[in-house]
Amino acid sequence: MIEVKDIYKSFSGNEVLKGISGKFEEGVTNLIIGGSGSGKTTLLKCMVGLHQPDSGSVLYDGRDFTPMTYEQRIEVRKEIGMLFQGSALFDSMTVQDNIMFPLNMFTDQTRKEKIERVNFCLERVNLAGKNDLFPAELSGGMKKRVGIARAISMNPKYLFCDEPNSGLDPKTSIVIDELIQELTEEFKTTTIVVTHDMNSVMGIGDYILFLHEGKKFWEGSNKEIAHTDIKELNDFVFASRFMKAAKDKF
């Protein structure tokens, strides 16, 4: 479980996060949603230590991450897998080398064992046999799936996904969402997905934290989200004509 307590973060006097708190349970898909500039990616980066919060704490199964030393953080980070918005695959490496990279760095496995692990991860994301391709040879959806394969290669306890559907067609987006949900349930990871994709919200949102202008406005599940009377949340969720029309059927 990951818990954030009263997180504040500002950049050059501009307050981006204003006291965010929330609990993200393991084995369920936790979503952080909100409009552009609402602070969801900043919150994610504070959680993984890419930004240092001005105040507040981030607890990984009770371990406070924010005051940790560099060496202590490294130990926690070995338990983290992350899928980036742009996949962040290493351009100069093949798919296999990308997935094998953390294994090379942190395990003493033999090459055979590492390749077996790579093949397992690739099969899990339905990309078996794509080991020797370079990132430049992959489609957007394939890059995301390789990003997921790399993120799960070390059997992470915590999985973070930053806008996993951005730039993908609706069908591929659903494939990625379902994959994230399957992996979360299968490996009992604490999964946190930052998104503003409403298909994801309705499809896999076991727990949803809604941010607006740096504040937590609402939390709940995808079953509850359609029945709230919070204006900001309704404006966000039912912004499209399609969602407005669908609202009556919820």
Binding site: G49, I74, F101, M105
Partner: protein, 244 residues
């Protein structure tokens, strides 16, 4: 502002020299960088050094018009200029353009495409993994390139003098072998070591802290080359004054 940058540069270097996560992977990366910096720059350094040596001979001969000055001086002046100044400094400035811009662009692109964040999240010391192999390759391969450059510059002088008739091969050979002070080689290698460090660390710093997109990466690359060149010239003066 410049003090802020210098402070960040020092802090980055502190991170660079942290204990590597896995030495074997770092060694592999160092070998790759040595190949790029050393072998990859050999052709360029060879061409530049040979022509600079040849041109130097012609220019020295042009200026030494007095009958009271023996032509063997051409060889001596060419040798000392090549060893002390031309080979280390010109090579370093050329390498700052070639390698410095490449390092800055590579690391800058990795920054804007979140590849550096990905390394950090994995628990890898990104400055160490990305920059340390480049610095080690710089401080080892640039001195080697400078040694080759010295040899080729003096050889270029020989060829230029012989082909133009500005100096006979015998006079030139006598010049380069007379009153040779081996200490000049030490000075040149100290310079090459310092320049190798600058050429790799300054562009790495510029690339590492890029924010934005393609435009900012290209601006960082330009800034990296300019700052490296100025730093090379300042350090050239300081090392010369300290050691000679």
């Amino acid at each position: 502002m410049n003090f802020t940058n210098f402070g960040r540069y020092i802090l980055l270097l502190k991170s660079v020299f942290r204990k590597p996560e896995k030495l074997k992977i770092y060694l592999k990366e160092i070998a790759k960088q040595m190949d790029y910096v050393g072998v990859g720059s050999l052709g360029l350094i060879a061409i530049i050094s040979t022509f600079i040596g040849a041109v130097m001979t012609l220019q020295i001969a042009f200026q030494l018009v007095s009958d009271f000055i023996p032509k063997t001086i051409i060889g001596s002046v060419n040798r000392d200029s090549s060893i002390l100044e031309l080979s280390p400094t010109i090579s370093a400035i050329v390498l700052a353009g070639k390698i410095g811009s490449a390092i800055s662009s590579e690391i800058g692109s990795m920054r804007v495409t979140e590849q550096i964040d990905a390394l950090e999240i994995m628990g890898i010391n990104a400055p160490g993994y990305l920059i340390l192999p480049k610095i080690i390759s710089g401080i080892t391969m640039v001195p080697m390139l400078v040694i080759i450059s010295m040899f080729l510059s003096i050889t270029g002088g020989y060829l230029g003098g012989s082909l133009s008739g500005a100096v006979t091969p015998a006079e030139y050979m006598q010049g380069i072998t007379t009153d040779f002070n081996p200490y000049t080689i030490t000075v040149a290698l100290v310079k090459a070591f310092v320049f190798g460090f600058i050429i790799t660390s300054v562009p790495a710093y510029e690339g590492f802290y890029v924010r934005g997109g393609a435009l900012e990466v290209s601006q960082a690359s330009t800034r990296a080359v300019v700052i490296s060149c100025i730093s090379i010239l300042v350090c050239d003066y300081l090392v010369t004054q300290l050691l000679l």
